[in-house]
């Protein structure tokens, strides 16, 4: 990993975007603030309609915020038109110019910046090489495949060396295998160019694999910002836990807090430690989340955190899912990696104990 100095490339400060007026008005973004660091692969993740694309469009300049500031290295760019922002976009539909060749597409930005011809030519050659498209420089964009168009769109956006590259679900039109390849390719490009990437997606797996940090969005708000591991292991809200990966939700009572960690009492009366979202100090009833692979099965008995009945066993090759019904009535899934060897005697309909380890539970804000 290269050094990531804590310098912000983009700062979004209290940005709101309201569409429509009067009764029919909709807040696509509601007082959103987020900082994106230099050289970072930053992902805006959320379901459709969460405001992620709106935020990207505001940074690109295709739309203007109703309120708030967007700073690019400290300068407010929110009022600038797109052609005055050193920010380039890779569009979901690629938007390659159909009447130009691959090379002319890639050189377009530099040409508009008024760069000398030989410099453009050299840079275009360099970009063609970077995305491995040298052989197709003279082709029309309608004569190349979807994956190749994707590469041209990337090269075109990277050629003017933008301060920030915006990517609007660029992989969604590709088939599965190509998408996997492009994920790795994008990481490589980001690494080699050192340009800050802001990537928009609704695909949690894509976000987890590629990002340095992820912002999870819902209904025009950013719910949580953190590394993929933070987001996965320590989701702050139920929506985040639910949207990313599989989750078990349990009701519990707060017992106490010490050193930023909580102790909660489960429905069985057993007390377990749990981590708290930053700055959150609840009392009384709370919901905790436990990932299916963070809990273990054991023999039923007093040593277990909880107990329940095995309702279903789903064998998936690499691992097995045990669907439990807990004594308190809640459903709970345990995922266990398979190994070769004798069966452990857990059968459908049997009673089992459930162990929730010291670092497995997370208290949610709601």
């Amino acid at each position: 990993m290269p050094d990531k100095p804590d310098r912000n490339a983009i700062e979004v400060v209290n940005v709101s975007k309201i569409f429509g007026s009067g009764e029919g008005q909709v807040a696509a973004l509601d007082t959103v603030s987020v900082s994106i660091r230099e050289n970072e692969f930053f992902t805006l993740l959320g379901p459709s309609g969460c405001g992620k694309t709106t935020l990207l469009r505001l940074i690109a300049g295709f739309d203007f915020p109703t309120a708030g500031e967007i700073l690019l290295y400290g300068q407010d760019i929110a009022p600038l038109p797109p052609f005055k922002r050193p920010v380039n976009t890779v569009f979901q539909s690629y938007a390659l110019f159909p009447h130009m060749t691959v090379a002319d597409n890639i050189g377009f930005g530099l040409e508009m910046l008024g760069k000398p011809k030989d410099q453009i030519k050299a840079r275009v050659a360099e970009m063609l090489k970077l995305v491995k498209m040298e052989a197709l420089a003279g082709r029309r964009t309608s004569q190349i495949s979807g994956g190749q168009q994707q590469r041209v769109a990337l090269a075109r956006a990277l050629a003017p060396q933008p301060k920030v590259l915006l990517l609007d679900e660029p992989l969604s039109a590709l088939d599965y295998k190509l998408r996997k390849e492009m994920q790795i390719e994008l990481k490589r490009l980001q690494h080699e160019t050192g340009i800050t990437f802001i990537f928009v997606t609704h695909d949690q797996e894509e976000a987890l694999t590629m990002s340095d940090r992820i912002a999870v969005m819902s209904s025009g708000k950013i719910l949580q910002v953190g590394s993929p591991r933070d987001i996965y292991d320590r989701p702050a809200e139920r929506f985040v836990a639910d949207f990313i990966g599989e989750s078990n939700f349990l009701k519990a009572d707060m017992v106490g807090v010490s050193g930023g960690r909580a102790t909660v009492k489960l429905s069985s009366g057993v007390e377990i430690p749990a981590t708290l979202p930053e700055g959150f100090n609840p009392n009384g009833k709370v919901t905790i989340v436990v990932r299916p692979e963070h809990a273990q099965l054991s023999a039923a008995g007093p040593a277990a955190s909880l107990s329940g009945t095995v309702e279903n066993i789903v064998y998936l090759g690499t691992d097995t899912h045990f669907h439990l019904r807990l004594a308190g009535g809640e459903a709970f899934i345990v995922r266990r990696q398979n190994s070769r060897g004798a069966s452990d005697g857990i059968v459908q309909g049997g009673q089992v104990g459930l162990l929730i380890g010291n670092d497995a539970a997370q208290v949610l804000k709601d």
Binding site: P81, P82, F83, T89, F91, A95, P98, F108, G109, M112
Partner: protein, 266 residues
């Protein structure tokens, strides 16, 4: 829906279709045949000859009228296409707003108002201007033709613009192109087939007009159609057939070109 229903197999359909085509094409066919008549009649065949084409070719009035038609058509087509392009850009590159439909209607006014009404209105209007200014040149005809050609030029240009992906213009702006450069480098090249189609359609429409031209023209400003109309009043010779045939050929060529250009994709 009955998928095996075919209108072709309804009783009488073939007869109706055949009648329609005969009514449409037979008169034109007869007109073309008699253009090659050696006799001085448009109904009695006197052998094959090209003499009426020759005589039309040497008729200075025909030549003058043809030249005027072309001149007028070219200028009106150019001007109306420029206006139509601007109108099409203004009415498609915008979010819908109250009054937009009214603007469409206003642009297409010449398609809805009967030509004779426009003709009379222009006659009265221009005669006032003539009295005040003393000017009686080609300007009146150019203005009138430009106005009624605009909707015809507008339609193919607007159709082309509506099919054009707005993201392309956004991508150009994202790549540092100013609005003018975006128009020059992206919108205009992609719009070009629509503009050419509009230009040709406008030219044909101008070339063909009789009613408005008849009312607006000053003395000695005969276009080919108004000249032909004048000649017919004095009795028809196959020379008119010959001129019509040449005119027909020209229109067919232009309309065919229009068809291919407007079908061309990127």
């Amino acid at each position: 829906m009955a998928s095996n229903f075919s209108i072709k197999h309804q009783p009488g359909f073939t007869a109706i279709a055949a009648t329609c085509f005969i009514v449409l094409y037979l008169p034109i066919f007869v007109l073309v045949i008699y253009a090659f008549n050696a006799a001085t009649s448009t109904s009695e065949w006197g052998g094959f000859s090209l003499k009426w084409f020759q005589s039309a070719w040497q008729n200075t009035q025909v030549i003058d009228a043809t030249l005027l038609s072309f001149q007028l058509g070219a200028i009106a087509a150019l001007l109306s296409t420029v206006f139509a392009t601007m109108a099409a850009l203004a009415t498609t590159r915008t979010a819908s707003y109250p009054g937009l439909t009214f603007k469409y209607a206003a642009i297409n006014q010449p398609l809805m108002v009967p030509e004779i009404v426009t003709g009379v209105a222009l006659l009265i209007f221009f005669s006032r201007i003539k009295i005040f200014t003393g000017y009686s040149g080609l300007g009146y005809l150019i203005a009138a033709h430009t106005a009624f050609c605009i909707p015809f030029a507008y339609l193919p240009i607007r159709a082309r613009l509506e099919n054009m992906d707005l993201t392309l213009e956004r991508a150009a702006a994202d790549l540092y192109a100013t609005p003018w450069k975006t128009f020059r480098r992206i919108t205009l090249p992609l719009l070009w087939p629509g503009i050419l189609a509009g230009l040709m359609l406008a030219f044909v429409i101008s070339l063909d007009d009789v009613v408005i031209t008849e009312f607006v023209k000053s003395g000695g400003q005969d276009t080919l159609p108004t000249y032909m109309l004048g000649q017919i009043r004095r009795g028809i010779t196959p020379e008119i057939n010959a001129i019509s045939t040449a005119f027909l050929l020209l229109s067919v060529v232009i309309v065919t070109l229009f068809f291919f250009i407007s079908r061309k994709r990127d």
